[in-house]
Amino acid sequence: MRSTITSVWSLTNRFLEWFGDLGFFGWQVLRSAVRRPFEGRELIRQLDEIGSRSFPLVALAGAAIGAVLALETRSSLVQFGAKSMLPAAIVFSIIHETGPVVTGLVVSGRVGAGIGAELGAMKVTEQIDAIEASGVNPYKFLAFTRIVACILMLPLLTLAADFCGVMVGWIANTLVEPISFHKFIHQGLAGTSFNDFLAPTFRTSVFGLIIGMIACFQGMRTQGGTAGVGLSATSSVVLSSLFVILADVILVKVILVFFS
């Protein structure tokens, strides 16, 4: 009993310490962001690295979700005689939930691991020290640019996943029962407003903040050699995925309260 309490206490302490360090890291990044130079070139490089290189994977994941939704939902709706609701069910679920969450999780896997490993390797080989020694702020040059790139790219990648999901959903539906794309979209978007698009898509910016922040933090605090780099990459993916899911739950509630 005593050892259980000690373990829980130690775990709580470590969690609070991690949170405190993350908060301090966030403050350092924020403070560095308001100082010149603004690292435009590095930001563009990161937008390309995080955005365009994640596009194929995100598009593929979106397409797979569209196909699965079309195939799985059809039989249920046919059973209840609500076959005409199929386009709306596909479009609504992709735009509202599956598109943003799948994009968040795919990016946290690809980008989170990439950033965690890259910065971790830079840390253990003293490259981050070398950047700092040359009079360049690593919080801005390495962390701020990656975090901003994640924040800006997640909504765009989500739109790509949504588009591919809806397209493939339509194709899967058409293969069973032909329907024109115009009619599919018309039925799918019936009763939806601009807010139905906007809020779920832009909540992925928060996912981007979480992924960028946690991956940079875990990478830049790496200790040890190659084992430490591996640990940073893994923990970046695990923690950012976990916090993306938690943030999703909170943001869905916020969106329902303020945008419905």
Partner: protein, 270 residues
């Protein structure tokens, strides 16, 4: 063939750090350490170190592994904070300055890391150009010329497009040295420049450092285990033991010392 001498002085951007504008013109020692303490947990690494290095002078810091030699260099360039004590760079106390001023001071210092710490996603050329891109208003072609000149000075002019992973340890050290010299620093900090290199390459690196010191009136601190290298390139030698300077002077002073540790150290390394 001897590489050509460095000629072009890069124009460094002016900043708010007015205190270091006349950096090299200052009468104060280039580096002055006083009462420097640094501990990691319960392990005391530096225990009140005091050292001075003048402009144009080279100090070699020797000592057993784990005596805080590398930590000393990291404290001087502000990568770590001392627990207490004073670090003055050309009279400017750096332990209490803001980050902007510290970064201005860092631009006047070159640092060669133990394993070179080249940016592995950049080519050799981009590595050397990194400080120039960041801190000067040079055009792209001026930067290219300067990089070629720096790499020629370290005998690496033929490897501009190679990646750090594709060159040997000795070549990485040379590129690291070229990068450290990019902004024409007033102070050069070298962390084990010959560690892990064969005797011939070590000799070449020593010659290179000597040549660069002759060409540029820099104050240098060289942390090394290599007594031969220290003897070749340093004006003075400081031997660290138990977190402090056990003995400081010329190589002959050390050789004459009757201290048991000093004798043991010199005997082991000879």
């Amino acid at each position: 063939m001897m590489p050509p001498a460095l000629e072009v002085s890069p124009p460094v951007e002016k900043s708010a750090a007015a205190a270091i504008e006349n950096f090299a013109a200052s009468d104060a020692p280039a580096i002055a350490l006083r009462g420097l303490h640094k501990s990691f947990g319960s392990q005391v690494v530096l225990n009140g170190i005091a050292l001075k290095v003048g402009t144009g002078e080279t100090l070699a810091v020797l000592g057993r592994s784990g005596t805080g030699k590398s930590v000393l260099l990291k404290l001087i360039i502000g990568l770590q904070k001392p627990d207490s004590g004073s670090i003055r760079i050309h009279g400017q106390e750096i332990t209490r300055v803001d980050l902007d001023t510290l970064n201005e001071i860092r631009k006047k210092m070159g640092f060669l890391f133990q394993h070179a710490a080249l940016y592995d996603s950049l080519t050799v050329e981009q590595n050397v150009a990194f400080p120039l891109k960041r801190h000067t208003k040079m055009t792209d072609s001026e930067q290219r010329d300067r990089v070629k000149e720096l790499l020629a000075a370290v005998g690496m002019e033929g490897d501009l497009q190679k990646m750090p992973a594709d060159i040997s340890g000795g070549m990485q050290k040379r590129v690291g040295l070229a990068r450290a010299l990019a902004l024409e620093p007033a102070i050069l900090l070298l962390d084990e420049p010959t560690a892990g290199l064969d005797p011939i390459t070590s000799g070449e690196i020593d010659e290179l450092i000597l040549k660069l010191q002759e060409e540029h009136d820099m104050a240098s601190i060289v942390v090394t285990h290599d007594l031969h290298s220290a003897k070749t390139i340093a004006d003075r030698i400081a031997l660290l033991h138990d977190g402090n300077v056990l003995i400081e002077g010329s190589f002959d002073d050390l050789a004459k010392s009757t201290d048991e540790f000093v004798s043991e150290f010199l005997k082991r390394d000879s």
